[in-house]
Amino acid sequence: METVIPNELVWLIFLLPILSFAVIALFVRPFLNNPRLSGYISISAIFGSFILSTWVLISLLSAPGHELVIPDFNWLVIDSAINIHLGLMIDSLTAVMLIVVTLVSLMVQLYSQGYMKGDPGYHRYYALLSLFTASMLGLVMVDNLLLMFVFWEMVGLCSYLLIGFWFHRPAAANAAKKAFIVTRIGDFGFLGAILLLLSQTGTLDIAQLHSLALAGVLTGTVLTWAAIGIFLGAIGKSAQFPLHVWLPDAMEGPTPVSALIHAATMVAAGVFLVARMFPLFEHSEVALLTVAIIGGLTAIFAATMGLVMTDIKRVLAYSTISQLGYMMLGLGVGGIAIGIFHLFNHAFFKALLFLGAGSVSHATGTFDMRQMGGLRKVMPWTYATFLIASLSIAGIWPLAGFWSKDEILASSINNQPILFYLAMVTVFMTAFYMFRVVFLTFGGQYRGGSPANHSPRPHESPSVMITPMVVLAVLAVGSGWFNVTGGFSRFLEPSETHVFQGFFGILAHPLPWVSLILAGAGILLAYAIYSARWLSAERIGRLFEPFYVVFSNKYWFDELYENIIARIVLLKGLFAGIKLFDSRFIDRGINAFFIENLVVRRFFSGLKSFDNRGIDGAVNGVADTTVATGRVLRIAQTGQLQLYGMFIILGILAISLALIFFS
């Protein structure tokens, strides 16, 4: 096992799924049209990538500086400034991401064998999953900011195509468009940062940018603006406030796709980007503080909306936004290892939660929790794994979520007390909304499922769906243990001085107890309302009605963005105004007067009939178009233009031909 992975095989990690995409799209779909084969090709490719990623991880554990150097080659060389090489940057951060992405994607693809069975778009589905995974793998591996942007956009494109997978449903098509456009607002910042960095430093090589920041060459306002721009990109991709609005709608895609988007690919890209460019943030106090504040605010802001949603996937979506806020907070107050450790743990339990939600809807035909209930007995595996994941996300010792959440809380208590208190409130809310889901979905009596569902008796999902969930459940329990003694942190950050207490030692401190009590209180409250019914949900709802209205209307952000800004201010206001200006003032005003009038009157005044009969209407600019058309038509019929043209053309042709023959 001491063999270091050969360079060619490292390239294969993202080339395998790309190849799978190409084979399915260009060969299997058009010529063989065997859906099962598409699924198998895609799964084999991602399995290969997973094995290779594991090899990379093992190689890195013993490599000096936990880094592999892969030679690169020219991709776009224009001058000394734009000199882009295609190369890979394989360090510990990449290795962790590779494992997360390939493992979650593998599980999702296995699960999809059951979930997507019989869907007419089966080929397209697996082709896109392959491309989606490949793009994310490329994103975490490349060594250059511009190429990272390439894969970054590819990830966005694939999620557009997958969210809109069932494109005949208007909601899906809308959600896909919304996801792409909202994240592109963030990309505006990312691209701006790229422009700024290249013009100021002359390089986009990530390692070089790191050393420039460390050496203090890249500093001051340039550094701050670049970091803020990069973070704007991350805000879009990782659905942070105020660009969070696309993620809840993205549930219109097939549920396994949601699992992939929420756990390992799309939204993880933003957190990864900040971690990848962390040396830039570290040297700009403003940028780092922005990351922490946006993260902390998003965590609690999204959690409040998660409290009141009735759609199981929407609750999970808001929980993702909230957890991503935690990760950003972790990066802002603690550093790479802390933020990425939460990303690592979250990937497994969040993927599991979505797969669980998919399993539930597979049985009941709905995502509305008000139509579920009582599924504990009929879906024991789904229930058990979902419960584990819920405990994990709620941060219950000793499950995975506990360890990373505790690290974030411990780092923020000293640096950012206000954000710390917000995060503590979020712990309570998280436990409450997750167990509200658990009790509504699995507890009590079955409430009939979707009215349109033809199989009224819900049933457990097939083993092809259950097996990946069990694997993820094991990870949702144990993935946090990698850092019980600080191993995970030391791998990512050699200089990390955090004190790790061991499996039980951590319980000797007050902070974990406070957070555990808060989480326990949240679970208890959910139990009291939704299971034991000591408290009436309606009464509580009335008590907190103003809050309920605000939360369930999502703070009116969709309303603000889609209706007020996009529809009224831009489309009906500004853009319509510009269009009117264009047609009335420029086209039929200035241009009609100067060009049509001047040209015709001054240069072609010899063509009398042309002038008198034809152009006045168009020139005066206000003429009714049909009249104008009629007049122009008559000019054409007078034949003078043809005559003019024929003269020119005959002359030119004669000269040209003569020249060819006599030259």
Partner: protein, 497 residues
């Protein structure tokens, strides 16, 4: 004496036109085969020239495959052709689109003989513009193009076709007249019509009848109508919208590139000082083009008109790249001209198929076509991705090169602000492209389109050629940037870039 490759490329199409026009009793099928043959050979030769083109740095600024013959000695006008790294890719683009335009017109059955004759003449005139090194020759080719275009739009077009055709003629003549005045002023100043020679002359010490800046603007006006620069753009949506499909493809694909090409070759190459002095103004117009064009695009309801307005926005990027005056930004402008040619060419081609097969061009009346026309939906989506600059397509690489080059250019102060404003264009491009895709192809299936047929094999083949090129340039941009650099480096060097 070497073979006159460039003359062959230029004049084969018109030779085909003459055969089609003069040989009696040709069936329409024979006419189409003749047209295909007389556009395929120039394409093959231009690809050969592209392969044989010397890309080494030593050849930077050197014309290759040059041809020279005395024409009108009295005024020192010569028949002088040649290509460098700037013009060669555009020649390849035109000869490619010329051939594809014939394939695109395969279903044409109205006055077939005249149609193909005009189409081939059009190709000759545009190729002539890109290869002429003599200002008078250049001007003649520039003006000839009006005639076939007028007839192609007014006879085979749709909608207000006569109005649009006449409007096109008026605007082009207007620009052409100013341009002619500029060329004459330049001639009287230097006594030469040789573009290469004039570019190497320092014009500042010469006695001019009117200020150099005035000559610069006279010429620029002609180019600005073509590109087009707002507010001279209003002919474009009408002409593109009402032209038959193949002509729209050529209009958007190469004809408007004459403007960008001439700006680089003449406005900047011959008048570096004036270009630098007035760059802020033109950069401002570029930003306006990008944002204003995109804003108007968002309000369009006609499928072809929407694509036409998006061209105005995309040509704003070209203008930005040109007047940022940096080497990389100029290369980016060249790339964008090529890339826009194939992407928007494909967009017009598929929009034409959609309109032909559904009989509908109003976006609000279309919908759900992805089920009924799956192949067209995929092709349209790919073209749309190119239009909004998604990576792996040529659109991304072209736009990002312009942005990187312009932002880093230190020739013009304040260029960074215009670049950042122009970045908004890619955001708006995503909005209008995705909206278009959604309205036409997604959503519930409409019963009225149940009988609509998908792309046939010929259509799939020419679309595949476009798509292959979009991805080839997007994935391996150096195939073009290396060529553009040899032509652009000496021009950029005028600004110390």
């Amino acid at each position: 004496m070497s073979f006159n490759y460039l003359s062959t490329i230029i004049f084969l199409p018109v030779a085909g036109a003459i055969i089609i026009a003069l040989v009696p009793r040709l069936s329409s099928r024979q006419i189409k085969y003749i047209a295909a043959l007389f556009t395929l050979i120039p394409l093959a030769i231009s690809l050969g020239l592209f392969a044989a083109f010397d890309r080494s740095a030593a050849m930077a600024g050197q014309m290759q495959f040059e041809e020279f013959a005395s024409w009108i000695p009295l005024i020192n006008a010569n028949y002088h052709l040649g290509v460098d790294g700037l013009s060669l890719p555009l020649v390849v683009l035109m000869s490619l689109l010329g051939f594809l335009a014939v394939l695109l017109s395969w279903k044409m059955n109205l006055r077939v003989r005249e149609y193909f004759a005009w189409l081939l003449l059009l190709e000759t005139s545009i190729l002539g513009v890109f290869t002429s090194l003599d200002l008078l020759l250049f001007f003649i080719f520039w003006e000839i193009e009006i005639i076939p275009m007028y007839f192609l739009i007014s006879i085979w077009g749709a909608g207000r076709k006569e109005y649009s055709a006449m409007k096109y003629v008026l605007y082009t003549l207007f620009g052409g007249a100013l341009m002619l005045a500029g060329i004459l002023s330049l001639y009287f100043t230097t006594g030469s019509l040789n573009m290469v020679e004039i570019a190497q002359t320092d014009l500042a010490p010469l006695v001019t009848s009117i200020p150099l800046a005035a000559i610069f603007f006279l010429l620029l006006a002609g180019f600005a109508v073509k590109l087009p620069i707002i507010p001279l753009h209003t002919w474009l949506p009408d002409a593109h919208t009402d032209a038959p499909t193949a002509v729209s493809v050529i209009l958007a694909g190469t004809l408007i590139k004459m403007g960008g090409y001439a700006m680089i070759r003449i406005s900047i190459g011959i008048f570096p000082q004036a270009a630098q002095d007035y760059a802020p103004l033109l950069l401002g117009l570029a930003a306006v083009n990008v944002v204003y064009g995109a804003a108007v695009t968002l309000k369009q309801t006609d499928i072809k008109r929407l694509i036409a307005y998006s061209s105005i926005s995309h040509m704003g990027f070209v203008l930005l790249g040109i007047f940022a005056l940096g080497e990389a930004s100029l290369v980016g402008a060249g790339l964008q001209m090529f890339s826009h040619g194939i992407i928007t060419g494909l967009l017009f081609a598929v929009a034409g198929i959609v309109m032909h097969n559904t009989g509908e061009r109003d976006i609000s009346k279309l919908g759900g076509l992805a089920r009924q026309m799956p192949a067209i939906a995929v092709i349209f989506t790919i073209a749309g991705l190119g239009a909004m600059g998604v990576p792996t397509t040529s659109g991304f690489i072209a736009e990002v090169t312009i942005f990187l080059g312009a932002f880093a250019s230190n020739v013009v102060s304040g260029v960074q602000i215009y670049t950042i404003i122009s970045l908004l264009g890619i955001l708006l491009a995503a909005a209008y492209t995705l909206w278009l895709l959604q309205r036409v192809f997604f959503g519930p299936v409409l019963e009225k389109f149940n009988q609509v047929r998908d792309a046939d094999n010929l259509e799939k083949i020419y679309c595949a050629i476009f798509i292959a090129l979009i991805f080839l340039v997007g994935l391996y941009p150096m195939i073009l940037t290396d060529v553009f650099r040899t032509g652009i480096a000496p021009i950029a060097a005028l600004f110390g870039g």
